[in-house]
Symmetry: C2
Subunit: 247 residues, 2 copies
DNA sequence: CGTCATATTGACTTTAGTCAATAGAAGTGG
DNA sequence: CCACTTCTATTGACTAAAGTCAATATGACG
């Protein structure tokens, strides 16, 4: 575990600031204070647990690099992945106010994670009360994504569900500047895609084949390519509004 | 539409205060300011729309009486209910920071709704910055419930799903003091239960029959009775922790 | 009494799950 | 480098859960 006394890496903080400014512009002082947020940076291997279900962490994690997901374990070993996190995401900001954690967090690929102490967040908000609305917004967007996932699981076919998930990730990754040549790194296995969509891995496999045959995606070597995002959006009945990507 | 110049009904505000104190105790001054929150009270008939998907309300609604649900409409008329609201719930607090609304809100029974202007919330938070954590908490609990619903839809059978939903409502209603003789008013139709669980109404009907035959519930005249809540909890693999009902 | 929404039932279809076998791919130790 | 393990991906055959369609019943209400 390494430590950045000056706060998170500058690049990442710029990223976080840019994200929060989707909600409301920040003042120079607010930006400055965000930049001074302390954090310990830690690396995780694929498959490692970043946070335990039921834990009461006194810090929240920002994903700096790699991919992670939040999940719940149910009886008989079933798993439900409830979100996929990409660089720049506050992985568990809600545990600033909501403890214990109702889910675990795992790294889906090698990942760099910055952990920001809740005490530092509390001081930040004491100094800049207006920022509390920005954090509220971040938590609320997370809720909006969960609701869209609910609609996805409840009312869409496996084919549409996967298409919808890929659209969501495409838009989020694109906003984060991580889409290159119409594709991006997606380290999720078919088992994990199944756990995210409430499907068996066998059925995921077959639905992926259908998406491939329809020319909507390629997916190999942990890289997803979408040659025609409009076509995928249309198949998935996808509307990016719920992501609140526009400032 | 009637108006309470002195704020929400006292009973309801006590209720809201009690709820927020599940997160952290409030000071006398904070309580006082909450009591002074202005609100217009409005009545709705069953089936009426309380808020439109895509709207940008400048107030948030507190459900005072009755039952409501939030839902999304998908292509081809499919509907996904993403939450069920009971008295005391902030139906759309998140729209304080998150607009436009990504879902609609409808009354599931005759309902009384208090609408609190965002401007008043903003002033409340300016005066009592610490309260922002309480509101953050309320939004975060909402997210936790959505995540549990995700696990429900993704990884449980129709029978378990309905049992789980009934457990959740039982616990929430009980906390609100609305459980009498092991049951409570549940105005949802089988179609609506289906839309909440991602099921067809026919399958809901059959699953309800199974729950009845197993002696776990009775459900008639819009009233759900659970003679043995522990048995239902056990069938549903239900753990109330995610509701954060304990102070 | 007629209307409308909801609930119930039966017959049948479809989607997705399960089980099992095989094939790849990545990593490990010799 | 190769045998070995392990995890993942793929395929086929079969099963089961849930959906669809259609008919009927029930209940609330004007």
């Amino acid at each position: 575990m390494s430590c950045c006394p000056g706060g998170l890496e500058v690049r990442m903080i710029e990223f976080l600031i840019r994200k929060l400014e989707r909600f409301a512009p920040l003042t120079a002082e607010e930006r400055e204070s965000l930049k001074l947020l302390p954090s310990k940076v830690r690396n995780f291997e694929r498959g490692q647990t970043i946070a335990q279900q039921g834990a009461r962490p006194d810090e929240s994690a920002i994903l700096l690099e790699g991919c992670a997901f939040r999940y719940k374990l149910l009886k008989e070993g079933a798993r439900q992945i409830v979100s996929v996190q990409i660089p720049g995401d506050f992985v568990d900001l809600h545990c600033f106010v909501l403890r214990p954690l109702d889910h675990a967090v795992a790294a889906a690929s090698p990942a760099r994670v910055g952990r920001v102490p809740h005490e530092a967040i509390r001081q930040l908000l004491a100094k800049h009360p207006r920022l509390s609305e920005s954090l509220m917004w971040d938590i609320a967007v997370d809720g909006a994504i969960s609701r869209e996932w609910l609609a996805n699981q409840g009312r869409r076919s496996a084919y549409e569900q996967l298409a919808h998930l890929f659209c969501e990730l495409y838009f989020r990754m694109d906003w984060a500047g991580l889409v290159q040549e119409q594709g991006f790194e997606l380290p999720l296995t078919q088992i994990e895609l199944g756990d995210a969509c409430g499907l068996s891995s066998v059925h995921v496999n077959r639905s992926l084949q259908a998406l491939r045959q329809d020319g909507l995606i390629t997916f190999e070597n942990h890289r997803l390519t979408v040659p025609n995002i409009e076509a995928l959006v249309s198949q998935a009945d996808f509307d990016p509004a719920y992501l609140h990507l526009l400032g």
